[in-house]
């Protein structure tokens, strides 16, 4: 025993002049950049918020008083309502490290079902409207089952269902638009989301925008204040660890895709409100625009990190830049150009923030 102690003392003596600490965590260096990185890691929504505010300030100078008039700013909100609503659906899917490429197609299919059944087939609105919502729920459920039960990659599943749902849009609509005036006469409830409330100062709010905010608040509550919400984040962060922790990742995934389908159907209702009609031509770019909003909003495509509020900011950023550039008199190709730059910047910042956990 004493021999051992003596030997160990000798060994200690040999270590003289070396760092005697066994193991320790690296202390925060306190450098400014690293500090910012830490803040961003904790509050990822700060980046899109700063970009949004910067955009508003820049265009207030570049595009003049027309831009920051209350009416114009509320117009931007109206213009992004559809994309933001779809973006909310996309956010919860991406949080699980998945992707849903069929959101745009589900939205249009639901709007066509609502419009066509109510106006062309004369089904009472009390049945046609829930039927449209049910369409979205079923589409989402199919995605969820294929991802969680058949265990196919979400990208492949929704690439396939995107085509299937888009084909059903043509099948159900007969490629015909249900005119705004016919919907107004027969099923005005479908245009409810397009009705406006004057807020004051010239600003107007649509019921569609209010619906979007209600969905966002509900999703925020579910994701941040319920066990299910934590399961969604955990499933996206590390599905194996989540499973070992006792989370039923299969049911979580099915629920997420189904909820996304339901939100897409609501987005379909918002679409009818905005364009008046139920048109198979609408929403061609909605899919990618929604993913763009999610990415610019700071939600990581690798899952597990991101926020509902970020997506709303992301959609607003795209809307503000498009509107501002147009009012500043720039050609529409520069609007595309700018949105592309925004995506790359957003992903670069995301990668930089991720390094903190590496």
């Amino acid at each position: 025993m004493s021999d051992d102690a003596g030997g160990s003392a000798a060994a200690e003596a040999g270590l003289k002049g070396h760092d005697t600490a066994v193991a320790s965590f690296e202390e925060e260096t306190g450098s400014g950049l690293r500090h910012i990185q830490r803040i961003l890691h904790e509050f990822p929504t700060v980046v899109p918020l700063v970009v949004l505010l910067a955009g508003v300030v820049i265009f207030a100078f570049a595009a003049g008083s027309r831009f920051y008039a209350p009416f114009n700013l509320s117009l931007v909100l109206q213009q992004v309502t559809i994309i933001a609503t779809l973006g909310l659906a996309q956010t919860i899917v991406i949080l699980t490290a998945g992707i849903d490429l069929s959101v745009g197609a589900i939205m249009i299919l639901s709007s066509i079902v609502m419009g066509r059944f109510a106006v062309v087939y004369g089904v009472p609105i009390g049945i046609a409207f829930p039927l449209g919502l049910l369409t979205g729920i079923i589409c989402g459920l199919i995605n969820g089952l294929l991802v969680a039960v058949v265990k196919l990659p979400p990208f492949i599943v929704t690439l396939g269902t995107w085509s299937v749902y888009a084909a059903l849009v043509i099948f159900v609509s007969h490629s015909e638009t249900v005119r705004s005036q016919d919907i107004e006469a027969i099923a005005p409830f479908l245009q409810f989301t397009g009705r406006i409330i004057k807020v004051g100062g010239g600003a107007v709010l649509t019921y569609g925008a209010i619906l979007m905010i209600v969905i966002a608040v509900a999703l925020w509550y579910v994701l941040n204040r319920t066990p299910f919400g934590r399961h969604v984040y955990a499933t996206g962060d590390d599905p194996e660890a989540a499973r070992l922790a006792g989370i039923n990742t299969r049911n979580t995934l099915i629920a997420v895709y189904t909820i996304a389908g339901f939100i897409c159907a609501l987005a379909g209702w918002v679409t009818i409100g905005r364009i008046g009609a139920a048109s198979p031509l609408a929403g061609q770019d909605a899919n990618l625009d929604a993913i763009t909003a999610v990415v610019i909003g700071g939600t990581s495509l690798f899952g597990g990190r991101g926020s509902i509020l970020g997506t709303l900011f992301g959609a607003l950023i795209v809307g503000v830049f498009r509107n501002g550039l147009a009012l500043a008199g720039l050609d529409s190709l520069w609007q595309e150009f700018t949105v592309g730059i925004l995506i790359i910047v957003a992903v670069t910042i995301d990668q930089w923030i991720r390094k903190i956990s590496a």
Binding site: R66, N72, L75, Q78, Q79, I82, V149, V150, S163, A166, V169, I170, H174, S175, E176, T177, R179, S180, Q181, G194, I196, T271, R274, I275, G276, A277, S279, P280, L281, A282, G283, Q284, D285, A286, R322, N323, A326, L327, G329, D331, S332, L333, E336
Partner: protein
Amino acid sequence: MRLNFAKAAIAGVMFAGLFAGTSAYAAGPIVGLITKTEGNPFFVKMREGAQAQADKLGLTLKTYAGKFDGDNDSQVAAIEDLISAGAKGFAIVPSDSSAIVPTIAKARAAGLLVIDLDTPTDPITAVDATFATDNRKAGNLIGAWAKGTLGDKAATAKIAFLDLATNQPTVDYLRDQGFMAGFGIDVKDPNKYGDETDPRICGHEMTGGAEDGGRTAMETLLQKCPDVNVMYTINEPAAAGGYEALKAAGKDDGSVLVVSIDGGCPGVKNVAAGIIGATSQQYPLKMAAMAMEAIAAFAKDGTKPTVPAAGFIDTGATLITDKPVAGVNSITSAEGLKICWG
């Protein structure tokens, strides 16, 4: 895995059901029809017109469509498919006027008759014949009508242009520039919009030829020029979307003149309702039927259609309005409704 098998079985049954619904193959010569998308009623009507004519002439029609407007790859694959199937010829609405040309050359070298419909190829001589609406003339008609309707006020008009896409496909600039010429605007380069300096132009925004694009585009232009009093639109869905923007701004009282091009049934109904002031109607059914006749004649004895000096065979465009203007020929919306498509 058992689950997968069950799913595959269900899918198989569904596909069998779908194919059972299509008509049985006839023995006649094979002809093709390739359109831009299945989502647009214009192309759906075109397909119906081609099918009816093909049945009458004893041809076996194979139809193809791209996944979206601008989808060149699907059209290339369709042409390759038709060549290997031994088709006698086909009619195509090119999604990309230039990119499709080398593949069309391959088909013609293989002995197929190629008819272009609606959107001319670039160059127009890349095909055996083109049956199309004279889109510049169609634009011209609505331009002249708008000018005549405004009278003296045309000199101080403010015009919003709701165009198709940033890359300005042929149909896009032909209609836009046709309208400008008809209205009396110096178009500068007649094959490109955006280079004009006329102060009456508020701006050009892209709609994608759909309602949602039309609404956003018009909202933006109304913000830019609140005094807009003419709205030019690439097609009727864009016009319907733009009108929603006018309605939201309280400008649906007739203070803004709306003009469009297409002549689809929803569009003509909108003329009757006073939403669209005037539209130029085109005839997709006729285009497709004429193409089938040309290919049938070629399959029989090798005769090719003769192309007039203009470079293409004009299938006609008629102005539809309920407020006719002196010097511009037009028909009423009631007459237009009888011959509308979609």
